[in-house]
């Protein structure tokens, strides 16, 4: 009796599944989603979005698991091979390469072949492409740039710089006023990677920067030395706060809030804690990192967070529908607005939230980054190289005289890592 029930249930399930295939809505079965959006605001955003998808597909049994963002980075290796969900969050570019190469991510080029996605998401397509195929979809990205204390600039009679000379002249005046130009906390290394990204992209251009991070250019080359020479000008001026090697990026925020430092080269996620610390939008402003070598096209860092379908997923059909849903213009507008993720939508048809920084960032990325959009130092370079290199960058910021030793070490690491 029981076996008969089971068979008929199975038959019904198959029938339902085939019906589900016929119409886009009315998906059935289970959909397991793993998220790394463990902070309260992004978590609530994601849960709200998933409940909307649930409403559209009442017969689908959605099961969401939120894992702590740091723990996720190690757990993903296990669950992708052992107990794969149907949808998982991750990051674009080189950070997804190990899983693509191990055959653990599903090829979703078919989704991108649809012009509704392929055209509207063109700006991030490169970051999702490995070996000519796409391996997931982005759901948000955010600009990097210089966030600065407008009130301090006004007080000292400074205006937003656009060239390297202006940048240094501004900085000298800030130092003369007894403050530091930039706050930074390099305890966890990646913040130094942000400075290197910008200095190198402005000194040598996007293509050279990518050649360096993908192992085609050498760290001991004259181009890279020029980048470090430019950086050293700032270090020798005393532009950065002291003892930055002991602080995390959050611990470096108070220097700017208290007015001991005037600016912070950071991603847009720094705006929320700065506002929480009491800085108003009148005090806080943003400018694009200045030109260094004239004629080099400006390129920007804009890290992209992504959704992927694991190769071992059970319900790939529902997962594909979910990915389409996530990148649709309305959902993109909704989840990226100021009340939710507070970042930039990836779909060109979406609208950007009325937020000073998001609007400026969107403007910058869509009209003033002809050089290209990079992901970030530790996402564009292989993880192992990123670690060794960022350690070298931190050492350089503390002991600029060690540069030759550091560059030799990075060359050796490069030879070993890119084989």
């Amino acid at each position: 009796m029981r076996s008969m029930l089971k068979t008929s249930a199975a038959a019904f399930a198959i029938l339902a599944a085939s019906m589900g295939g016929a119409s886009a809505d009315g998906l059935t079965g289970d959909l397991r989603i793993f998220l790394d959006t463990s902070n309260p605001a992004p978590r609530a955003t994601m849960e709200k979005m998933i409940s909307q998808f649930q409403e559209k597909n009442p017969d689908l049994n959605i099961e969401t698991t939120v894992i702590d963002r740091e723990a996720y980075k190690t757990q993903i290796r296990n669950f992708l091979s052992a107990n794969a969900p149907d949808v998982a969050t991750w990051y674009a570019a080189n950070r997804m390469r190990p899983y693509v190469e191990a055959g653990l991510f599903e090829d979703v080029s078919d989704l991108w072949a649809d012009p509704a996605i392929g055209d509207n998401l063109a700006s991030t397509k490169g970051a999702m492409t490995i070996d000519g195929k796409q391996w997931g979809v982005p759901y948000t990205y955010y600009q990097w740039g210089v966030y600065y204390r407008k009130d301090i600039f006004d007080e000292l009679g400074l205006s937003e710089p656009t060239t390297w000379e202006e940048e240094k002249a501004n900085c000298q005046k800030i130092i003369d006023a007894g403050k530091k130009c930039y706050t930074i906390g390099t305890k966890f290394l990646w913040t130094a990677g942000g400075w290197f990204d910008y200095l190198n992209m402005r000194t040598n251009g996007f293509d050279f920067h990518m050649d360096l991070l993908t192992g085609k250019a050498k760290w001991t080359s004259d181009e890279v030395r020029q980048t470090f020479a430019n950086w050293r000008e700032l270090i020798d001026m005393g532009a950065f706060i002291d003892n930055h090697q002991t602080y995390s990026w959050q611990e470096a925020l108070p220097f700017m809030v208290k007015g001991d430092a005037a600016a912070y080269l950071m991603g847009n996620f720094a705006v929320a804690p700065l506002r929480d610390a009491g800085l108003t939008d009148d005090q806080l402003d943003f400018y694009q990192f200045v030109e260094i070598t004239p004629g080099v096209e400006k390129a920007e860092d804009a890290p992209t967070d992504t959704f992927h379908i694991p190769a071992n997923a059970q319900n790939k059909e529902a997962a594909r529908e979910f990915l389409k849903f996530v990148v649709s213009p309305d959902i993109q507008t909704q989840i990226n607005d100021g009340k939710n993720l507070g970042q930039l939508p990836v779909n060109a048809q979406s609208s950007v939230d009325k937020d000073k920084f998001l609007e400026q960032g969107f403007e910058m990325l869509s009209t003033n980054s002809p050089g290209g959009v990079a992901q970030f130092f530790d996402r564009d370079a292989p993880a192992e190289m990123a670690k060794v290199a960022m350690e070298g960058l931190q050492e350089f910021m503390v002991k600029p005289d060690n540069l030759d030793k550091i560059l030799d070490r990075l060359d050796r690491a490069q030879e070993r890592i890119y084989k």
């Binding site: 992708l80 390099t186 966890f188 003892n243 090697q245 530790d378």
Partner: protein, 305 residues
């Protein structure tokens, strides 16, 4: 029926004959099995893994001893090794410190239990909390340390940001709970000190340092031995304080072998399982040398009795 009872008596008599030898093994069996499966077997697995190149995802590739070859050329490995030695040497300061605090607390004064608890307190709280407290203490901008240094006319220092000081700074943080641990060991040891010997010593005119050195300390030998063992092992497995206080930095100068192994094999930018395993093997061999020495000296002690 008859046959069965014969069988039964024979079996029970065999059990009866060997009961004395078998019972301890039966009791030990679960422990031995777990020990083999979770300790001994993984040790050999690590040895094996250290000969492979493996990212934890794809197929492992046999590379012979090339991981060890790379270790030989790896500056970060020597930094870690050097720091391990510094840890081993400086961490031993917990033993005399613990002894003196124990001597100080080994008196009958009102409220002595409260003082003992206060001294023991750092051992009870988590190492993570110890690390955080000391990080704030050392903070170059907001910390108390530089206020204290300034008040006696010394220049400010950034302990955790200076590659020459960072390891010492972390060890001092580690000594805080470790001293409490040694203190407890000595307090129990002091309970067992023979009052007659002290009396005899006193009659012979010994007091102060001579009393301590010739009468008390020799009687504390077992406590000293245990304190030595736990301190050495504690120094070699130092990890949590480094992770909390500096994350191995600045530029990798506060790493020790266990932290470097974690970084290489399991952290965000790592996943080189084979290389991590080769570091683990080196650390294991160092520990093995100490453990062998401890076992040997314990064996000698037992035999002498």
């Amino acid at each position: 029926m008859a046959q069965a009872s014969v069988e039964g008596t024979r079996q029970s008599s065999w059990w009866h004959r060997n009961q004395q030898q078998l019972t301890p093994w039966l009791f030990l069996a679960p422990g031995i099995l777990f020990f083999l499966f979770y300790v001994i077997f993984p040790i050999f697995q690590s040895f094996n893994l250290s000969l492979y190149q493996w990212d934890g995802l794809g197929a492992a590739e046999y590379v012979g001893v090339s991981n060890y070859e790379e270790l030989y050329w790896d500056e970060a490995f020597y930094t870690s090794l050097k720091n391990n030695v510094i840890w081993l040497v400086l961490y031993l300061a917990a033993i005399p410190a613990g002894l003196f605090i124990a001597l100080f607390l080994n008196q009958t004064v009102t409220g002595i239990r409260v003082y003992k608890s206060l001294f023991f307190f750092p051992f009870v709280i988590s190492q993570v909390v110890v690390g955080l407290v000391f990080t704030w203490f050392y903070d170059p901008t907001f910390g108390i340390l530089n206020v204290v240094l300034g008040s006696v006319g010394l220049p400010p220092m950034n302990v955790l940001g200076d590659e020459n000081w960072v390891t010492v700074g972390i060890i001092i943080a580690g000594l805080w709970p470790q001293t409490a641990y040694c203190m407890i060991l000595y307090l129990t040891g002091l309970n067992a000190v023979d009052p007659e010997q002290i009396e005899a010593g006193r009659l012979d005119g010994a007091k102060g340092w001579r009393m301590l050195w010739y009468i008390i300390v020799p009687q504390l030998r077992p406590a000293t031995f245990i304190a030595f063992v736990v301190t050495i092992i504690g120094a070699l497995r130092s990890f949590d304080l480094i992770s909390v206080m500096t994350n191995g930095g600045p530029f990798g100068s506060s790493r020790v072998l266990s932290f470097y192994m974690f970084e290489v094999a399991l952290s965000e930018y790592g996943f080189r399982m084979g290389y991590g395993a080769s570091i683990a093997v080196v650390l294991f061999l160092i520990m093995l040398a100490f453990i062998a020495y401890f076992l040997w000296s314990m064996y000698k002690e037992e035999k002498a009795r």
